[in-house]
């Protein structure tokens, strides 16, 4: 299931094809929102019931009874259980150590095979990009998962604005390097700064998202403020946080976990229950807040929309 919300101009409620599905969606969203005291943002979530292919599949996903339901992971959990090694190795570290993380002013360096390189002030970078809310599953490579309502914009829109040249085949992102603010960078757990990358067609896929907020609030430091990537069909470590550089490249760029351990983390890192991590299975995952594990879906359940990106590729080899 994917609940995807377009910006309000894109769709109207009348576009919804199947009323019963819509009602189910609405009940689901209302229930989740209510239980989380989300009354304030519920109306905008409801507007998300528009009918493009993705949403229809999503809605079908909900009514499909043999797949366990997706419910929003509480804000509290989303913001207290984080893998963000820049702020410490323990998952409770980032929430403590990122409290005073300074995100203003924030600039992003755009470089490489692109027509509009330069150092952008974050506000300038985001100017004119349509804001959206999207509810995505997040599947960590460590076999746990969450459902998070993000606020932000489609990565494709940003890329369109920056105009990569025809030489650009990949895009690389880089996290802030600032050991003063990010004490985890004083240790050598990974090669700092953290870098991640996507193939350009992955990056411009409509599901690829850049988040500046969650639950209708500003992105907290521990979740990657002020700007982070969200690629819902890939393991969480691809969704790089606190981005300070975007680089368009011709060759496949380096990615941090792949550098750290190429046998365990590939460039693609698509969620795939058939390819185990050498140290644990990926067949199942624990949804935060649930006791029993649930089966992990190929591409984290977004296969309908993204599998075509990998046609003809051996996903066991390109893990």
């Amino acid at each position: 299931m994917l609940i995807k919300s377009h910006n309000k101009h894109d769709c109207t409620e009348s576009e919804v094809t199947d009323y019963s599905i819509y009602v189910k969606r609405r009940q689901f969203i209302e229930a989740s929102a209510r239980s989380l005291g989300l009354a304030a943002i519920a109306p905008s979530l409801l507007l998300s019931a528009c009918s493009d292919a993705a949403t229809e599949n999503a809605a079908k996903g909900i009514s499909n009874s043999d797949q366990p339901r997706d419910e929003l992971t509480p804000y509290e959990d989303v913001t207290s259980y984080n893998n963000f090694y820049e702020f410490g190795l323990d998952k409770s570290d980032p929430a403590k150590l990122a409290k005073n993380f300074k995100v203003k002013p924030w600039s992003v360096r755009v470089e490489g095979a692109v027509e509009k390189p330069g150092v952008y002030d974050l506000e300038d970078l985001l100017k004119g990009l349509p804001q959206e809310e999207r509810i995505y599953r997040l599947r960590c490579v460590e076999a746990w998962s969450m459902v998070i309502p993000w606020n932000g914009f489609a990565l494709a829109d940003l890329i369109k604005k920056l105009k990569p040249t025809s030489a650009a085949k990949y895009v690389q992102f880089e996290t802030l390097y600032d050991p003063q603010q990010m004490p985890g960078q004083k240790g050598r757990a990974l090669d700092w700064p953290y870098v991640e990358g996507l193939r350009l067609d992955e990056a411009t896929h409509p599901l690829a998202f850049m988040a500046t907020g969650l639950y209708g609030k500003e992105l907290p430091g521990q979740n990657g403020a002020p700007l982070r990537l969200v690629v819902p069909w890939k393991y969480g470590f691809k969704s790089i946080k606190s981005i300070v550089a975007i680089r368009f490249t011709e060759k496949q760029p380096a990615t941090s976990w792949n550098i750290a351990n190429p046998g365990e983390y590939g460039f693609y890192a698509n969620v795939n229950p058939k390819v185990s991590h050498p140290r644990w299975t990926q067949r199942k995952e624990r949804r935060i807040g649930e006791f029993l594990k649930r089966p992990t879906l190929p591409f984290n359940g977004y296969g309908d929309q993204v599998a075509s990106l990998y046609q003809g590729m051996d996903l066991k080899r390109y893990f």
Partner: protein, 196 residues
């Protein structure tokens, strides 16, 4: 050492060894285990299993260094607590984490080096726990000591298990390794004589 301490060493030790469990129970009761309580319990019990095993290894150098017998009077108790925390750790994995999914558990056992090392350590601990009574000690005589030297191997497997399961940032298991190496060095006759 104050006389009271030495006299009451066993109940004091018992009380101290229970503290991690009590702390875990308090975290549970007050809903402070965080977003992923199962992971927290597994890791917490794993940490204390390894710490207890290493504390067991302190008894001999301490007894030598202080020239006192009291460390020996609590050695078996700490050893049994080690077994208790390892059992808790294993139960947490089998019951909470995998919920008796034997297929997954079996798969882990044959495929994941870190599980193999942990399991080997657990299995080797069983004969030590079984023979930890005074009666067994007497019955086995010299062989008891030989058998219980296996704790050196078990501790090494525990540290190895930790190294194998970590994704990045080897600082924590490295600390345990260091402690282990120091405790083993203190047993080398030349060094042991000097410490005495």
């Amino acid at each position: 050492m104050p006389a009271f301490f030495i006299k009451q060493i066993k109940p004091i030790c018992f009380f101290l060894c229970c503290l991690p469990l009590v702390y875990l129970a308090v975290l549970f009761a007050t809903d402070q285990l965080g977003a992923n309580p199962i992971e927290r319990i597994t890791r917490f019990s794993g940490d204390w299993a390894l710490r207890m095993i290493l504390i067991t290894l302190v008894a001999t150098p301490l007894q030598r260094g202080l020239g006192a017998v009291w460390p020996f009077r609590i050695r078996r108790m700490i050893g049994l607590f080690s077994f208790f925390y390892v059992s808790l750790h294993l139960s947490s994995y089998v019951v909470l984490d995998q919920f008796f999914d034997w297929r997954e558990i079996f798969d882990d056992l044959i495929k994941r080096p870190f599980i193999m090392a942990g399991m080997a350590a657990f299995v080797l601990l069983i004969p030590l726990a079984v023979t930890s009574t005074k009666k067994m000690m007497r019955r086995l005589g010299k062989r008891w000591k030989q058998l219980h030297r296996m704790i050196y191997l078990i501790a090494a497997l525990g540290v190895l298990h930790y190294f194998l399961l970590i994704k990045a940032g080897w600082a924590e298991p490295a600390i345990y390794l260091l402690v282990y190496l120091v405790l083993m060095l203190l047993r080398v006759p030349v060094i042991a004589r000097r410490v005495r």
